[in-house]
């Protein structure tokens, strides 16, 4: 029974990782940017949602809905002001830019909001603490299910769009060769801006879920980053379905590891990741081109 | 080139097949080239010419068949080893080392492919660059070259590895007539030095001036092989490749 519970909880945790990884995967897939500021953007989003939620005294989901337009606009602005230029400097330049961005956001938040920890769990009420009790050993939390469902919807929806709509084809084409995309009439910077806006938006969603799940403070961003990166790599760079799988694999590995011994939780996730990289089958899995 | 080349070496592929998924790209192809020989390959787009070269150079593994160099089986050896054993190759789509200069690009081939050191390597590079008409551009970064200079650089790098068998993939496309004549002269010279040349080219009238044997491929098979003029007038070849234009 414990094992079943571990797998179920791992699945739900995987939803959170996948959500975190989604924006990362998108930016990497489309713009080849390894975004070191992703976690901090998520936390920035969480702070915005928190501000709205506590000011207006509304539920975090409504707060998220109100914050999203702002964050999407921020994504657009981010692309046009910073990322667009950095992309011209080769693959490493965006790495430096996003590193810079990361510490600017972190410490900007520290100045603006103080180092206090905050959470959206309180205002989310039963969403954050309620669950369906199936048996004494197995209960399925509302929040986990909502997180997983959101992740499936977002990643799945985005994946389908990328594959099957003109909009998605444009995005993939721009990702592969933005100069040539311009030569067939695709405004590359607008496409990039759209991708960045979506990535920032999804990061905000992820940040909000994290904030309901746990607490956050200005320095919380980087802690979740490595899990998100692992999910992206396990799933195959640039493939959103793969990212979802990657997140879930990681989540389940962690909970199963924890069931064996709590100190193996995170370690089990990492070892699982390295094992996948090392095994020939796993490698063909991740190097397979999935877009 | 400054190396002495032993006589009569041969690169041979027997019963080569290559599939990509369900698509059969090469189907039981026998092909061979002897040192000092120049073979041209023609064939419609997608016939499998580049794939054949990929198998010979080791960039792809065949699904069936064997490749031998001087009677040694090299079917599974890596491209790097084949290069050091004397198989040089110029790619159809040039891939220069963008961050290096033209000279440095060539130097990689000279010092690893041909195993030359120090002044020997430099001298060799200067010769090769001169042969390929790149000497004035030697200190330019390779990513600043136009397409045709990149193609020449492909040739130069392959030459720099001191090959005994040289595999050339469409290095003459886009050349002006005068430039094409130069290229023909160069290839003839290489052949005279005992290098075996395999040259894929669609500009047939240029190609036939340089080769002693012409192979025509279609749909993964060799449909004609022999004296260039005979091959070109073969009805099957005209039908499959040259069309009514010729």
């Amino acid at each position: 029974m414990n094992w079943i519970n571990a797998v179920v909880q791992g699945l739900l945790l995987g939803g959170l990782y996948a959500l975190f990884a989604c924006g990362l995967s998108l930016l990497f897939g489309v713009m080849r940017i390894i975004n070191l500021a992703h976690g901090d953007i998520a936390v920035l989003g969480a702070f915005l949602v928190w501000s709205i939620t506590t000011r207006a005294n509304v539920s975090p989901l409504l707060g998220l809905a109100l914050a999203l337009p702002v964050m999407l606009a921020l994504g657009y602005a981010l692309q046009y002001t910073v990322l667009a230029r950095s992309l011209r400097g080769g693959t490493l330049t965006p790495l430096l830019v996003t590193f810079g961005l990361s510490i600017v956001i972190q410490n900007g938040l520290l100045q603006a909001y103080s180092p206090d920890v905050r959470s959206l769990g309180g205002s989310a009420g039963t969403l954050s603490t309620g669950s369906w009790h199936l048996t004494a050993q197995l209960s399925i939390p509302y929040l986990g299910v909502l997180t997983l469902a959101t992740a499936v919807l977002m990643l799945g929806g985005l994946q389908l769009c990328l594959r099957h709509t003109g909009w998605g084809r444009e995005m993939r084409a721009t990702a592969l060769d933005s100069d040539t995309a311009a030569l067939v009439g695709v405004p590359a910077s607008a496409v990039y801006a759209r991708a960045t806006a979506i990535a920032v938006g999804v990061a905000t969603v992820a940040g909000t879920f994290l904030a309901v799940h746990s607490t956050f403070d200005p320095s919380s961003g980087p802690t979740q980053l490595i899990f998100a990166f692992e999910a992206v790599v396990i799933g195959g760079l640039g493939s959103l379905w793969g990212t979802l799988t990657g997140g879930i694999v990681l989540g389940v590995a962690q909970t199963i590891g924890a069931t064996i011994d709590p100190q193996y939780s995170i370690l089990a996730g990492h070892l699982d990741f390295l094992g996948i990289l090392a095994s020939p089958r796993g490698r063909s899995l991740i190097t397979r081109s999935t877009t | 080139m400054s190396k002495a080349i032993p006589a009569a070496r041969a690169l041979t592929g027997r019963g080569l097949s290559k599939r990509f998924g369900d698509l059969v790209v090469l189907d039981d192809v026998d092909f061979s080239v002897v040192a000092g020989d120049a073979v041209g390959i023609v064939g419609p787009n997608g016939a499998g010419k580049t794939t054949l070269l990929n198998l010979l150079a080791g960039s792809l593994r065949p699904n069936a068949g064997t490749i031998t160099l001087d009677d040694q089986d090299i079917t599974t050896t890596s491209p790097a080893t084949r290069c050091r054993r004397g198989i040089g190759r110029a790619m159809q789509i040039p891939r220069p080392f963008a961050g290096l200069t033209v000279l440095e690009n060539v130097l990689v081939g000279a010092s690893y492919g041909a195993g030359l050191r120090g002044q020997h390597a430099y001298r060799h590079c200067a010769e090769v660059l001169d042969t390929c008409g790149l000497i004035e551009l030697a200190n330019r970064r390779a990513d600043s070259l136009g397409l045709l200079h990149r193609k020449r650089l492909e040739l130069a790098r392959a030459l720099a590895t001191g090959p005994r068998i040289l595999l050339l993939d469409e290095i003459g496309g886009g050349l002006t007539d005068a430039e094409a004549v130069d290229l023909v002269v160069t290839v003839r010279k290489l052949r005279e030095r005992g290098i075996g040349v395999v040259w894929i080219e669609h500009i047939v009238h240029v190609l036939v001036q340089a080769v002693d044997r012409l192979v025509c491929m279609d749909a993964g098979r060799i449909i004609a092989d022999g004296d260039p003029q005979a091959v070109l007038s073969d009805a099957v070849v005209v039908d499959a490749y040259l069309g009514k234009a010729q």
Partner: protein
């Protein structure tokens, strides 16, 4: 040639005090009230100190350790070598305090530190249990495991339970010290410890531990986590129906914001404090009482008081006493030696070195209490003390109530 010696030595009439605390990074909330405390100390030192008939100007140089040991060591070294500080103060978490102490010990600069459980400071830096005084230059005052033990064993009997204690002790400095020492002590008092094992900071799922606690029928819960881990755990516990009668948290829940962030499930958590505004003590240096300290901070910063105010100010009380205790405050060895014999009145109580647990450390009390909802105050939660076994001078405000009662 001759190797250059330590920086600006024994010259001038200015005494320099270095102060290192985490102002940015993950432990930044510890350093938050430092700005206010520093302003109090600077005011108190404004007139300088007269020692042995000589008047010295006093300068406090504060630095941010960025919650990172390498950075902490570097700022300490710079303070020692470039600024030539005569005395070092350090506070809050081993990441900052231990490297600063090590740098001072190695350079022969006296150092006083606090807010690291003393075992993590003493043994973590390589002292052996048999050492009477492992360090010559570095001194510390803080609670240790024994104080937790005392607080818990006086607090928990206030609510009837089955004495089964589920513990979540992480694999980090605090968790390890607690596991090694507190577990056996509690067992001796008849508590059954249910320990699923050490976990790593930053874990995102605690279902395995919760399942175990539920299966074992745990009624008391104790943990020493970083704040986000506890929030994750506590929400999951609620989801999975684990509701102990006493939820005793430490390390997290030190500051009101950490408990507020939990929302409804935060009220009723039991914690322990090393200082509250109700401590009946006054700072020897600044003559500020605990109540004035808290009120002053709340007015100045517009934020609720935090436990950090007490020990941070206490550092300056000790510093002043140490400098006054010698004839020549520029004599580092003498100052260091003097610290080991000090007896100082500070907001956290009277600190007397030499009484144990060893020559470098004064163990200070920690008192058990509970976070309760306020009615109509400015701040939603308040911390009330429920026991005072290790310092009976501090008034007890209430009885512990079962969680959720």
């Amino acid at each position: 040639g001759k190797l250059a010696d330590d920086g600006a030595q024994a010259t001038g009439s200015t005494l320099k005090i270095g102060f290192v605390s985490p102002r940015t990074g993950p432990a930044a909330s510890f350093g938050e009230p430092d700005g206010y405390v520093l302003s109090l100390a600077r005011k108190a030192f404004a007139g300088g100190l007269t020692i042995g008939g000589t008047r010295y100007d006093l300068q406090i140089i504060d630095r941010d350790g960025q919650s990172n040991p390498q950075r902490g060591a570097q700022v300490a070294n710079d303070l020692i070598n470039s600024d030539g500080v005569d005395l070092m103060l350090a506070t809050s978490t081993p990441e900052t305090v231990n490297p600063v102490s090590d740098a001072c010990e190695a350079a022969g600069v006296p150092c006083i530190s606090t807010v690291v459980p003393w075992e993590a400071w003493y043994f973590g830096r390589g002292a052996k249990p048999e050492d009477k005084q492992a360090f010559k230059y570095t001194y510390h005052f803080c609670f240790g495991v024994e104080q937790f033990h005392q607080a818990y064993t006086h607090l928990w009997p206030q609510v009837p339970t089955n004495k089964k204690v589920g513990v979540m002790w992480p694999n980090d400095s605090d968790g390890n010290a607690i596991r090694a020492a507190l577990g056996p002590l509690l067992a001796k008092d008849g508590y059954t410890i249910v320990d699923p094992g050490a976990y790593t900071d930053g874990t995102n799922d605690f279902s395995a531990q919760i399942a175990k606690f539920k299966a074992e029928g745990v009624e008391i819960f104790n943990t020493f986590p970083i704040p986000p881990d506890f929030a994750t755990f506590w929400r999951q516990a609620a989801q999975q129906g684990f509701r102990p009668r006493i939820a005793q948290i430490a390390k997290t829940g030190l500051f009101p914001s950490q408990v507020e962030a939990l929302g409804d499930i935060g009220a009723g958590l039991a914690s322990a404090a090393y200082w509250t505004p109700t401590y009946p003590y006054t700072s020897a240096l600044t003559k500020v009482s605990s109540k004035e300290l808290a009120d002053g901070y709340q007015n100045e910063a517009g934020k609720q008081w935090s436990q950090q105010l007490g020990p941070s100010l206490a550092l300056f009380d000790v510093a002043a006493a140490a400098l006054r205790a010698v004839a020549n405050p520029k004599d580092r060895a003498a100052v260091a030696k003097a610290i080991g014999t000090l007896d100082v009145q500070t907001p956290v109580g009277r600190l007397r070195w030499g009484k144990g647990p060893n020559g470098n450390v004064v163990a200070t009390p920690i008192l058990g209490g509970q976070w309760v909802r306020t009615t109509g105050g400015k701040y939603p939660l308040d911390f009330v003390l429920c026991e005072n076994s290790s310092d009976p001078n501090v008034p007890v405000a209430a009885q512990l109530k079962a969680y959720g009662a």
